[in-house]
């Protein structure tokens, strides 16, 4: 199987290189056969990549320790599920996963557009082929999953890192990769539009859904990663501004900006250059994020050890930026705006401010990530950019962004008059001010930023609520029917708008969860002998003894903490330590969540007295409203799905617009 897998990878390299060349020739000559051949090359590249994936998985499940990816990341007693998912625990294996997603997404995008965008598609194939050739080259020649171990074949593997033996690690990396990799599709369309001069809005329509897929996958992937950090790492939080976390955040911010500014281009013919810049930036940041994860230049719980692919990835980012900048400059005359911004009090202006803030935040994060690297390169000293730096910019740019989330939907296009502003904003503003006063009276004024964030959350919630209420009323006035029927009809006819509002609600829920769980968390550490208790926020935790339990490939040593509150029992917590057969040690937290407040009682075992007394050191946190962070993820997905759901009316309109005019030419 190893031989087959290796040949399959060489074949992927050859096929994607052919697809790129055939794409260029098809674009230059207008030859449909070459285009079909290029498209077929992507499908066969996908099939060959899957053969390579199966070959690696076969090696993993049959414990072929002659391969480095198997020997270094699995062991004989590793449960089968984790054995299969250890494909992406290694740098080389995760590169193969990246390639599988890339060839699959490319083949699908080309297939979807086989009868549309015919002038663009050869160049889309050329760009995607170029990208895939690069990654296939890395997987085949630089960091192969079929590389053998140095020295003799070991009898057993080193085992999977304990922190990766978690169900969230099965889903988190593939989801992030789906997000990173599918940003290639909008980038390829943008470059094809620039090469062909087809800078009309057609390419935007084709890539909007792919950008939504990337953006939803990155968002979901980040939340899965945050939950993994929360339940696995044991420090009590879920976001640490880790460089690799930031690597996913940066393209997500750029994609968020694009999803807003694309509306302005579609409706007003403005921000054409800006949209090209955003698409290029999102893709470049995604590859840069891959560089951060793989190169070993940053220290992170998420990153791989140093690998040889780093310089190649950095060169690829530089080439991408150079190519996209050159093409944008070349096509500037075609990217002139159809209209000018007439007033700063208009919806297009709020979209513009929203974009500037999102990009400013993305670049503040980027600077925080690259500064330690630059500092080490220039001065030879590694500096650290820690949470206060990021928190400062999050407040600086995040709070105005939150305000714009509420302001944007209520402002009319082109220009809003003072009368309409007073009428639309009175209730949201009055609600936010009243809410702020109420929260201040509750004693939440200790954090100005926290109080401002929560007040803005009220403002946004009221604006979104009003949008749904007024829209439903308008729908009923037009078509009659019940309120639920009118609401469904309203959302169904305006999926992008109302799906977007649901995402805005998810952001509000996230902000409330993050604010409450970070600003109002309580921490206690204590040493407890058997029978001794500690108190925290009204909870009493008693050491009921230290026990051991046998797992599939580990022994779990844990303390049983009996929890009571107000005299009534609230179950037990069992934080502990897993000692794996391979000798690796992993800490395990135990969490008790209470609904509906979403407050978590979070416990970790810091140490066990080795004198046999049963004494333990524990750390316990009460994290209020942290459940809202995970609820935000579910609402975010719901909003993304509403936005993504195909709209037959839009499809008909596009068919009419492009079909009637271009039928003659077949373009």
């Amino acid at each position: 199987m190893t031989t087959l897998g290796r040949v399959a990878l060489y074949l992927v390299f050859a096929l994607t290189a052919y697809a790129a060349v055939a794409g260029v020739l098809a674009g230059r000559r207008g030859d449909r056969r070459l285009m079909r051949s290029s498209r077929n090359a992507f499908w066969t590249a996908l099939a060959a990549t899957l053969v390579a994936v199966v070959a690696v998985e076969y090696a993993l499940v049959t414990h072929d320790f002659s391969l480095a990816v198997v020997a270094e990341h699995t062991s004989r007693r590793l449960p089968t599920g984790y054995t299969l998912s250890s494909l992406w625990a290694s740098e080389a294996g995760s590169l193969l996963l990246w390639l599988a997603v890339l060839t699959g997404a490319s083949a699908l995008a080309l297939h979807q557009n086989r009868r549309r965008n015919r002038e663009l598609m050869p160049w889309v194939a050329a760009v995607l082929g170029g990208i895939a050739t690069f990654f296939a080259g890395l997987a085949a020649f630089v960091s192969s999953p079929f590389a053998h171990v140095a020295g003799g074949v070991p009898a057993d593997g080193a085992g999977l890192d304990p922190s990766l033996q978690n169900p969230y690690m099965v889903a988190h990396p593939p989801m992030l990769y789906l997000g990173y990799v599918t940003l290639s599709i909008p980038f390829a369309f943008a470059m094809a539009a620039l090469v062909t001069g087809r800078t009309d809005a057609r390419w935007l329509v084709s890539v909007r859904r792919w950008t939504l897929v990337s953006w939803a996958a990155l968002g979901t992937g980040m939340l899965l990663g945050a939950h993994w950090a929360y339940v696995e790492i044991g420090w009590g939080g879920y976001w640490a501004w880790d460089p690799v976390e930031n690597a996913a955040l940066m393209p997500w911010l750029a994609a968020t900006a694009f999803l807003h500014s694309v509306i302005v281009q579609e409706k007003k013919g403005m921000l054409k250059v800006w949209n090209m810049v955003l698409v290029s930036a999102a893709f470049s940041l995604a590859v840069f994020g891959d560089f951060l994860t793989r190169s070993g230049v940053v220290q992170s719980v998420h990153s791989f050890v140093q690998s040889p692919v780093g310089p190649y990835l950095l060169a690829f980012v530089a080439a991408t930026l150079a190519l996209s900048t050159a093409l944008i400059i070349w096509r500037l005359p075609l990217l002139r705006a159809d209209h000018r911004l007439e007033s700063v009090i208009s919806r297009e202006a709020t979209f513009l401010f929203n974009n500037l803030l999102l990009l400013a935040l993305a670049f503040a994060v980027l600077w925080g990530v690259v500064f330690p690297i630059l500092s080490e390169a220039v001065r030879g000293v590694r500096s650290t950019v820690s949470a206060p730096y990021y928190d400062f910019f999050l407040v600086m740019f995040g709070l105005p962004l939150l305000a714009l989330t509420g302001i944007g939907p209520l402002i009319a296009w082109r220009r809003a008059s003072p009368d309409s502003l007073v009428r639309t904003f009175r209730w949201p503003v009055v609600s936010a001010i009243s809410g702020a006063a109420f929260l201040w009276l509750l004693g939440l004024g200790s954090s100005t930023a926290g109080l401002t964030a929560l007040s803005l959350c009220i403002f946004v919630t009221v604006t979104v609520g009003l949008e749904f209420a007024r829209g439903t009323a308008a729908r009923r006035a037009l078509g009659g029917g019940s309120i639920p029927r009118a609401l469904v009809d309203l959302v169904g006819r305006n999926r992008r708008r109302y799906g977007g509002y649901v995402v805005h609600l998810a952001i509000v829920i996230l902000v409330v969860g993050v604010t409450a769980s970070s600003a109002y968390s309580t921490v206690r550490e204590a040493h407890l002998g058997v029978g001794q208790s500690m108190q925290i926020n009204g909870y009493t935790l008693r050491n009921a003894g230290v026990f051991q339990r046998q797992g599939p490939n580990y022994t779990y040593e844990f303390v049983r903490l009996a929890v009571t509150r107000g005299g009534s029992a609230h179950g037990t917590l069992e934080p502990g330590q897993r000692v794996y057969d391979t000798g690796q040690i992993g800490n395990e937290v135990d969490i008790r969540s209470s609904l509906p407040s979403g407050t978590d009682l979070y416990s970790t075992l810091q140490g066990v007295d080795r004198n046999g007394s049963g004494g333990v050191s524990v750390k316990v946190l009460v994290n209020p409203a942290v459940g809202l962070v995970w609820l935000a993820g579910a609402v975010f997905l719901l909003g993304a799905l509403i936005t993504l759901w195909p709209d037959p009316r839009e499809a008909r309109q596009l068919a009419r617009r492009y079909g009637e005019l271009l039928a003659r030419s077949g373009a």
């Binding site: 199987m1 190893t2 031989t3 087959l4 040949v7 399959a8 074949l11 096929l15 098809a26 207008g30 030859d31 449909r32 056969r33 070459l34 051949s37 077929n40 090359a41 499908w43 066969t44 099939a47 060959a48 015919r118 002038e119 087809r198 009309d200 809005a201 057609r202 579609e266 409706k267 007003k268 013919g269 159809d338 402002i411 009319a412 296009w413 082109r414 220009r415 809003a416 008059s417 009368d419 309409s420 009428r423 639309t424 949008e467 007024r470 829209g471 009323a473 308008a474 006035a477 037009l478 309109q653 617009r657 492009y658 009637e660 005019l661 271009l662 003659r664 030419s665 077949g666 373009a667």
Partner: protein
């Protein structure tokens, strides 16, 4: 899997790829050349987009009026402007037909 079987499977994979990639050149297809857009087509396309954008803006304006985001006076001014824009685009489209 034996080495011989692996080599045979690899050879079959390569053969399959060659056949699939070469298939468009051997299969009968009537239209083999892509027609390109003329400058007039591009102009027509830009006008169709402008027409749809104006219609979309009119729909949004109606929605904004019904949901109270614009006053009646603002609505009437903007509606007249958008209608004039749509009419101008339609005239130009007719001229190109």
């Amino acid at each position: 899997m034996t080495t011989a079987a692996a080599v045979a499977a690899a050879a079959a994979l390569v053969m399959l790829a060659v056949v699939v990639v070469a298939w468009p050149f051997v299969s009968p297809e009537r239209e083999q050349q892509e027609e390109r857009l003329s400058e007039e087509d591009r102009r027509r396309l830009a006008l169709a987009e402008a027409r749809d954008a104006a219609y979309g803006s009119l729909r949004d304006l109606e929605h904004d009026l019904r949901t109270g985001k614009v006053t009646r006076a603002d609505y009437e001014v903007e509606r007249d402007r958008l209608r004039a824009e749509a009419a101008r685009v339609l005239r130009e489209l007719d001229r190109l037909r």
